[in-house]
Amino acid sequence: MCTVRNLSVAFNSGKQSQFRDVLKGVNFDLFPGEVTGLLGESGSGKSTLALTMLRTLPAGARVRGSITFEGRDLLRLGEREMRQVRGARMAIVFQDPGLALNPVMPVGIQIIEVLRAHHKWKPQRLRDETKSLLDQVGLDDISRIFKSYPHELSGGQAQRVLIAQALACRPAMLIADEPTASLDSTIQAEILALLEKLRREYNMAMLFITHNPALLLTIAQRVMVMHEGEIVEQGATAAVFSQPGDAFTKSLVSAMEQRVLAAAWSA
């Protein structure tokens, strides 16, 4: 459903015509109803990839290659057409709900804003749909949450609001950019389970971006490992992790193994 070919992104590093490569010729495919993990360290270019797919890179970025999504090359769409893709067909859940939510707008209104951008609905319908979304992401006391500002919510609640925002227009594809990195570990597990449940219900394709291989083990069917702007390895999750072919993947896996020494201990 989404085919990325030879995608390169370079940022203008201040000086005229001097570009720094962030993504170097990336190729991959995403399939409907499947979770693909994108594994990489910070600075490897994984978040840049997410922004490139939505075409929300800051000005001064040079993009080459193609992103074919639902039969159209996103890099060749006009800005107006692209806006109809963003949030509606391809949506994103950001890492830190404390930053991704507007601090001075009630969260209910922030979901309505997304709905309004893609539907010409009456206020009552927008309101009803928002409340049903809040319900779907497992929030209680919906009328209170609707009126709450982000700082009045816990981290887990705010992250659920972000998910509701992303799912508002029933996208065909969801990009989750480290959606659990800023949460406590017990909440992380809940959010992960929620994402997986909703992905099944909506039959979405999901690109799950993280630096933590253990998360991918539970959620992703396929993984791509990104290192310094290149995808160094991709394949079925179990295969990549049990027999890593690339040196970088190997070091990641061994770091993970050290980390969960205790898991082996207690098993």
């Binding site: 109803g33 499947e34 979770v35 360290e41 910070s42 981290g155 406590d184 570990s185 017990t186 909440i187 992380q188 597990a189 630096h211 933590n212 291989p213 253990a214 998360l215 991918l216 083990l217 539970t218 992703a220 069917q221 396929r222 079925a236 999750t237 179990a238 295969a239 992790f241 049990s242 070091s251 990641l252 061994s254 770091a255 993970m256 193994e257 050290q258 980390r259 969960v260 020494l261 205790a262 898991a263 201990w265 207690s266 098993a267």
Partner: protein, 283 residues
């Protein structure tokens, strides 16, 4: 909770703990001139002993009071009641002037320590700065000493002239550790110091800590929200929830025979790494 009895198979004979905290209470009432909000009990009757040469971990989620406890231990926060001893010296109630040498002995490294390094100084100046301020060592010796500490933490001499801005996240974290080491602390407290790091960098820093511990006999207190981080590191684990230590004991006991539901929940949330269990099932 009474002071936790030291487990016999951890220390063969009872030694005096390096740091002892007993019945610590701390309450934050964020009150202004007009408003009084509900006070938050950040610490409630917390007792803990840190054995010399051991690694102790305090595990808790955000708001559990773990950072407040660290701040109290480092004398950066004053508890409402309870006592803190460093070896045989009672720290609570000491005058501010007497606390100064104590603060050197207990060094706190925050998550943001690495990003709080002065960008206008070079790496070696950052490490040498505490020596300059205290004037403990002769001027000529300071640079040498700073370089030694940099090398101890795995930073090569050619990085000495670099600004922290040009260093990687892992290198900056090492620099923060080197800087703390110059004061020859007896206890190093890491407050979420590794949460900003990637897996590989984190593994390298943890390896560094293990090496320093065996070679120099350091005592660590690691404060984290992530139980799996301390699995291969800590000798002793205390689990905190809403200001209380709900469970503490030797790491092996806490990991293998946890009692408290909160510890069990944290254990359940630990990442699993058993390849082939459910991965690829939906493909």
């Amino acid at each position: 909770m009474a002071a936790f009895p030291v487990n016999a198979d951890y220390t063969e004979s009872y030694r005096e703990p390096l740091l002892r905290v007993q019945g610590l209470n701390k309450r934050y009432a964020r009150s202004g001139f007009w408003s009084k909000t509900k006070p938050v009990q950040a610490l409630s009757d917390v007792s803990l002993e840190i054995q010399s040469g051991s690694t102790t971990a305090i595990v808790g989620e955000s708001g559990s009071g773990k950072t407040t406890l660290a701040m109290c231990m480092a004398q950066l926060e004053t508890p409402d009641s309870g006592d803190i001893w460093l070896k045989s010296q009672r720290l609570t109630g000491l005058a501010a002037a007497d606390l100064l040498p104590i603060r050197q002995k207990v060094q706190l490294i925050f998550q943001s320590s690495a990003s709080a390094l002065n960008p206008r100084l070079s790496a070696i100046e950052i490490v040498a700065e505490p020596l300059d301020i205290l004037g403990m060592v002769r001027r000529e010796r300071r640079r040498e000493l700073a370089l030694e500490y940099m090398q101890l933490t795995g930073l090569t001499a050619d990085l000495a002239g670099h600004s922290p801005l040009t260093l990687s996240g892992g290198q900056r974290q090492r620099l923060a550790i080197a800087r703390a080491l110059t004061l020859k602390p007896e206890l190093l407290i890491f407050d979420e110091s590794f949460s900003g790091l990637d897996l590989i960098l984190e593994a390298q820093i943890l390896e560094l800590l293990r090496t320093l511990k065996t070679s120099c006999g350091f005592t660590y207190l690691v404060i984290t929200h992530d139980l799996s981080l301390v699995a291969g590191l800590a000798d002793y684990v205390a689990v905190m929830q809403s200001g209380k230590i709900v469970e503490q004991g030797l790491a092996s006991r806490v990991f293998l025979h946890a009692q408290h539901p909160h510890t069990l929940a944290l254990l359940a949330a630990m990442p699993r790494w058993t390849i082939g269990s459910n991965a690829g099932s939906g493909a």
